[in-house]
């Protein structure tokens, strides 16, 4: 039983010389925290966009909880997924609560159940005193935490986070990572996480897939991958071993 299954995925954007994804295949079991890692231009964003149904693949098969990502299942998959984009996808002029009420309403949630849920998440993310402050007044870490809450309101089965800790301070990063671990353990929610912080990925993820130039280059549990490469001290060394030292655009 997989949360995500990708088989022989191909995608070339119109006008692009090179494919963004070329024969990519990987899968993650349900209920784990999975890391999708790769250098810039590896194809992570394209893969996530195809998983969410935002971009149509040229060919290949994508399944989310055994549902094929196609027109027939697109809406059902959207209900299962909560996505935390890399950008702060909130309205800066609205307060955190107003943002969360709006996104909750879009998911069909309303009234006291929604307000209780918002209050609970604000508390868990240490934002209970700032819920009625406009988001543009927030620090980077507070924005990131609110950005994550907006993806959790509808109780997704699969949480996709695109660099959720980019640009945040140590305390906020620690809180976010601890929440993700707890959320995964307590709710059994599957998590797909992308990051360039490999130390973070090593400590958070049960399993990682490393992709480069649109292909899978490596997959496994971080600890096992490190063990398989005695010359590597950590996941970052393994990553560099496979993707090289050349700077990517």
């Amino acid at each position: 039983m997989f949360s995500i299954s990708v088989q022989d995925l191909h995608k070339t954007y119109p006008g692009a010389l090179e494919p963004s994804v070329s024969g990519l295949s990987f899968s993650f079991p349900r209920g784990i925290i999975a890391g999708l890692l790769g250098p810039n231009g590896a194809g992570k964003t394209t893969t996530i966009s195809i998983l969410c149904g935002l971009v149509r693949a040229d060919s290949g098969k994508v399944q989310v909880f055994d549902l094929a990502q196609d027109v027939a299942h697109r809406e059902a998959i959207k209900r299962l997924i909560g996505i935390v984009p890399q950008q702060i996808a909130l309205f800066p002029q609205l307060t955190a609560v107003e943002n969360l009420v709006y996104f909750g309403n879009l998911y069909g949630l309303k009234g006291k159940p929604l307000r209780d849920k918002i209050d609970e998440f604000l508390l868990r993310f240490g934002l209970e005193k700032n819920g009625h402050k406009e988001v543009y007044k927030f620090s980077g870490g507070m924005k990131r935490r609110t950005n994550i809450i907006a993806a959790l309101l509808h109780d997704p089965q699969l949480l996709i986070l695109d660099e959720p800790t980019a640009g945040v301070d140590v305390q906020s990063r620690n809180l976010i990572l601890q929440f993700l671990k707890d959320y995964n353990q307590q709710q059994g929610v599957s998590i797909l996480y992308t990051s360039h912080l490999l130390e973070e990925a090593q400590s958070l993820c049960h399993e990682v897939a490393v992709i480069d130039v649109g292909r899978l280059v490596l997959q496994g549990q971080p600890s096992q991958l490190i063990q398989q490469h005695p010359e590597c001290r950590n996941l970052e060394d393994v990553f560099l071993h496979y993707t090289g030292l050349a700077v990517r655009d």
């Binding site: 935002l54 984009p85 309205f91 800066p92 996104f103 998911y107 907006a150």
Partner: protein
């Protein structure tokens, strides 16, 4: 419905916290309408409402000069000036003053003008008397002089102004000549039969002129003045300026990822787009009626005419809705097509200014060259203005405005279709 209401609430909260946007939507048009109505008040006034100083050089000192002077004064348009610094105005001095622009017009009545008219009337009476077998006794001049009343205009005077003065003076001359002729005929007949002459009357005008309303009501006193033009015109301009907040809002949502988040939420994006459209359309309608209130209550305080609204209110509401929808759809199209706020805002603002200039917002279409009039009739701002004028000036109802309202709705549909295609292509 929840998604739609949530979107309306969200847009409302965003708007009330955007003071610059609020000023752009409500304060800017208020100032614009007031300023434009004041600036264009004089050019819009009929010549009948304006008074000009007219230099008169009377070399005749007869009946013709008196008639012309009385006629000009009676019209209420002219202040006659026949002396300057206690001296009678001479033709040379008058010419100089008019040429320098100190006066717009000078009328020179030549010496012997009345005598020439009297002589001409006598000649006609004598001729008629002869043909009727009566004695021709009225004195006539031996020479048939050709005299002209001379008019000097300020070189900068407009053609329409010259034309109206020409026409007025021509009427006075005809009037004097006719009066004298009739008087001479009466005198001739009175000399033959005094009793009959006592009851003798000639009604010269068998057919008169009467102004009637063309609309369903009898109201004919709505004058197309500065307020009547500028209030609806600049209200429509302001409504279309909603392209700025809508396009900016859409691009910001796309850039900060909130649009992505919205699109990843199950359910139709159409409900959210409809909520956005309904909200901004409502803002447009509020703008419209706020500006109408300015025309009714504020502008009269500045000694401008009060805005007249016609006799039915529903058609204006329908037209305001249609303009609001077209303006909102234009904002959505601009916000979809352009990638950066700078591009969208510059294009949006400049395109509205151009469309308004072409569409008769700045100056009525009627004063433009025929080609520009043709182009102007193709712009949505003109459709809106025409529909409002049909209601406010021509007392029209839904029947009169449906064609322009339908054009606005059709344009709204086309723009939304194009926006949907562009967005679909982008997502692909």
């Amino acid at each position: 419905m929840l998604r739609l209401l949530a979107t309306i609430r969200k847009e409302w909260l965003l708007l009330i916290r955007d003071r610059g946007g609020l000023a752009l939507l409500f304060l800017m048009p208020l100032v614009l309408i007031t300023v434009m109505a004041l600036i264009e008040d004089a050019p819009f006034r009929d010549y009948q409402e304006l008074k000009f100083d007219v230099l008169t050089v009377d070399n005749d000192h007869g009946r013709l000069a008196r008639y012309i002077k009385e006629g000009l004064e009676h019209s209420g348009q002219f202040n006659l000036v026949d002396t300057l610094a206690g001296q009678a105005v001479t033709e040379a001095a008058a010419k100089k003053l008019v040429n320098e622009g100190d006066y717009k017009i000078c009328i020179v009545i030549p010496r012997g003008a009345t005598a020439a008219i009297v002589s001409n009337a006598n000649r006609i009476v004598n001729d008629l008397s002869k043909r009727m077998g009566l004695p021709a006794v009225a004195p006539v001049k031996s020479r048939n002089d050709s005299l002209d009343v001379t008019i000097y205009f300020d070189p900068a005077a407009k053609k329409a102004f010259k034309s109206s003065i020409h026409q007025a003076l021509d009427n006075f001359l005809t009037q004097v000549e006719t009066d004298l002729l009739l008087e001479r005929i009466k005198q001739q007949l009175r000399s033959r039969e005094a009793e009959a002459a006592d009851t003798f009357a000639i009604q010269l005008k068998a057919v008169g002129l009467r102004e009637q309303a063309t609309g369903p009501t009898k109201q004919i006193d709505i004058i197309y003045n500065s307020v009547q033009h500028n209030v609806p015109a600049w209200s429509i301009f302001a409504m279309f300026f909603i392209v700025i907040p809508i396009a900016g809002n859409m691009i910001r949502e796309r850039e900060d990822g909130s649009l992505l988040r919205i699109k990843l939420i199950p359910g139709s994006y159409l409900a959210m787009l409809t909520g956005k459209m309904l909200f901004f359309m409502s803002i447009c309608v509020v703008q419209f009626y706020l500006m109408i209130l300015v025309g009714i209550y504020l502008l009269p305080l500045l000694h401008l005419p009060r805005l007249s609204l016609g006799h039915t209110y529903l058609p204006a509401f329908v037209v305001a809705l249609c303009i609001g929808l077209a303006a909102t759809a234009y904002g959505i199209l601009v916000g979809t097509v352009f990638k950066t706020p700078n591009q969208a805002l510059s294009f949006g603002a400049i395109s509205i200014v151009i469309l308004s200039a072409i569409g008769g917002i700045w100056v009525p279409l009627e004063v433009m060259p025929p080609t520009m009039q043709f182009i102007g009739h193709l712009t949505p701002l003109n459709w809106g203005l025409e529909a409002i004028n049909d209601i406010y000036l021509r007392n029209g109802g839904l029947q009169q405005v449906w064609a322009n309202a339908a054009k606005l709705m059709a344009l709204c549909g086309v723009m939304l279709f194009i926006a949907a295609r562009v967005e679909k292509k982008r997502m692909g």
